[in-house]
């Protein structure tokens, strides 16, 4: 009986190690992997900005309730802070991806500001729908530019 239990435990440990092995394989060491790692956070940031744009456009066309838009923007803010936290945690391996990280951080900060303005506008705090929509669009373009450079670097 004990023998069978030991065998089961070994099998479980083996399974876990296999899974971890696969997981660790993606540690960052080459520029390609560095670009992919940064791209993950940038994608999260651009997802958040895209969602914010959608929510604001829907509110301006009164296709959604203010409460729903406000919650959506709050959650986009959460996603953006997650993305910038991921970026600040990243340790660049050389000058080039240090520059990528700074561009990404700058674009994400711009997005955070745009989303904050949108929330203020939704809460009736001032600013115009069109102005806020434009701010989000600029932030989205900035993020797209950064992910463009990362993609090109990743493709080499």
């Amino acid at each position: 009986m004990v023998r069978r239990l030991a065998a089961a435990v070994c099998a479980a440990v083996l399974l876990l190690c296999a899974g971890c092995g696969l997981g660790l394989g993606s540690a960052t060491s080459t520029p390609k992997q560095a670009a992919e790692r940064l791209a993950q956070d940038v994608d999260m940031a651009s997802s958040a900005v895209g969602t914010a744009e959608l929510a604001v456009r829907q509110l301006r066309g009164s296709r959604t309730f203010p409460t729903v838009a406000e919650i959506t923007l709050k959650e986009c803010g959460g996603l953006l802070s997650g993305a910038s936290a991921g970026l600040t945690r990243y340790i660049p391996i050389d000058r080039r991806d240090a520059r990528w990280r700074d561009d990404a951080l700058r674009a994400t900060a711009q997005a955070q500001a745009a989303v904050a303005d949108s929330r203020a506008w939704v809460d009736g705090g001032g600013g115009s729908g069109a102005g806020v929509q434009a701010g989000l669009a600029d932030a989205s373009d900035a993020l797209d530019a950064v992910s463009g450079t990362l993609e090109r670097a990743g493709a080499q």
Binding site: L15, A18, G19, L22, G23, M44, L54, Q58, T64, T67
Partner: protein, 409 residues
């Protein structure tokens, strides 16, 4: 009247059980990242749950014994003990996610902090489980849950290119931006979301609550064949909505508020009102089901008196377990853990634990001592064996894939 109530059980199990926070989130995430290329996983899950729930309902209707009594009888204390621990913990995880889902849905409808909604939602679930009749509990959440049909309406309103949608569903390939590991990880997540064990505990114990006998087997088959495909259809329409709105703009879904955006995009405020009601009903219905399933598994394993058809004083252990689970679930949620993340883990662990419940039910469904002459036919056994292999494969692959993809990151 009894037949109508019977069908209500089927519809509730489809909407409440099928469409819970796990389906809402997983299908939206999959739609936004993989388009319709994982449709096959949802369809497999629908056929699987139809087969599994129908067998469990038939076994209970004929033998009068619910799922976990059977698991204990057939596997003995050691194997069924580990089975209980695994099934109970995963059910608790799903319960936590469901109550979190109710809180998130109420936040969307009222913009009040979800942390304030959590104790209210947990208390409301307890009051319904404590007082309401089993049938009433089903009808209300079942019928309200039907409002989720608005997802299907939204797909039509978004005026998609149906040929393209059908093509990507029929001829699936892994999108360039995603790795094979995360593709199959989400296939398992969808399969687990469709075939959650708590649905079967609830469905088979419900057969005892409703006092079904062998004559109700055809009724249970209707419930399953009406209820679950309806759930599968709604799952696919959630994924389609996400595909149409989010995929082109490369927006990845990770919050509940994003799940409802396509509906607002398609139908404006009216559709949004419907979907908010539907999500609250589905997550609340699922919270009731997971709470009851927690009570059912423990009480049936230890042989206590259980069931909502009895006075709480006649099933004290059953009710104490449910109260404890609600307190634990609400407690965990108050630590500001993200219910969507909890949900993603709960569906994958459901897939891991599925064989533990599926095999005993399959064995008993062939045991004349329990089933008399209502044993499985040859065709059903063949299909059941195919799914046994599928379920074992998904269960074994789930954890390594979860680690390899960092839980689908």
């Amino acid at each position: 009247m009894k037949r109508l109530l019977g069908v209500a059980l089927g519809v509730l199990t489809a909407i409440g059980g099928f469409l819970d926070i796990g389906d809402l989130v997983t299908n939206a995430v999959v739609g936004s990242r993989f388009g319709m290329s994982l449709t096959w996983a949802v369809l497999l899950g629908v056929v699987g749950i139809c087969l599994f729930a129908q067998m469990a309902g038939r076994v209970t209707a004929v033998s009068g014994r619910a799922t976990f009594e059977i698991i204990r009888e057939r596997l003995g204390p050691r194997a069924s003990g580990t089975n209980l621990v695994a099934s109970f913990l995963i059910n608790l995880l799903t319960l936590t996610a469901e109550i979190g889902g109710v809180a998130l849905a109420l936040q969307l409808a009222s913009s009040v902090e979800p942390r304030l909604w959590i104790p209210v939602a947990a208390f409301a679930v307890w009051v319904v489980v404590w007082r309401a009749k089993f049938e009433v509990l089903e009808d209300v959440t079942g019928l309200l849950g039907l409002t989720l049909l608005v997802f299907a309406v939204s797909v039509v309103l978004l005026d998609p290119d149906w040929a393209h949608l059908a093509h990507t569903a029929a001829a699936p390939q892994i999108p360039a931006t995603e790795g094979a590991a995360s593709y199959f990880y989400y296939a398992i997540a969808l399969f687990g979301a469709a075939m959650t064990p708590y649905e079967v505990f609830f469905f088979s114990s419900g057969a005892v609550e409703e006092k079904w006998g062998p004559k109700d087997i055809s009724q249970s088959r209707i419930n399953v064949l009406v209820g679950f495909p309806l759930g599968g259809l709604l799952s696919l329409s959630i994924a389609a909505c996400a595909t149409l709105v989010f995929l082109p703009q490369q927006i990845e879904v990770s919050t509940l508020s994003q799940v409802v955006l396509p509906v607002a995009e398609a139908g404006g405020k009216l559709a949004l009102a419907f979907v908010l009601v539907g999500i609250v009903a589905a997550t609340f219905g699922a919270s009731l089901e997971t709470t009851l399933s927690a009570g059912y598994t423990i009480a049936q394993f230890f042989g206590w008196s259980w069931g909502k058809f009895r006075r709480p004083s006649q099933a004290p252990g059953f009710h104490v377990v449910m109260i404890a689970c609600l307190l634990v679930g609400a407690g965990v949620l108050m630590t500001d853990v993200d219910p969507v993340r909890v949900t993603e883990f709960s569906v994958v662990f459901s897939a891991v634990a599925l064989p533990l419940t599926y095999l005993p039910i399959l064995l008993v469904a062939n045991d004349p001592e329990y089933m008399g002459d209502q044993v499985n036919g040859r065709v059903l056994n063949g299909l059941a064996l195919v799914f046994l292999v599928l379920i074992l494969a998904a269960s074994l692959a789930a954890i390594p894939l979860m680690i390899a993809t960092g839980a689908g990151a």
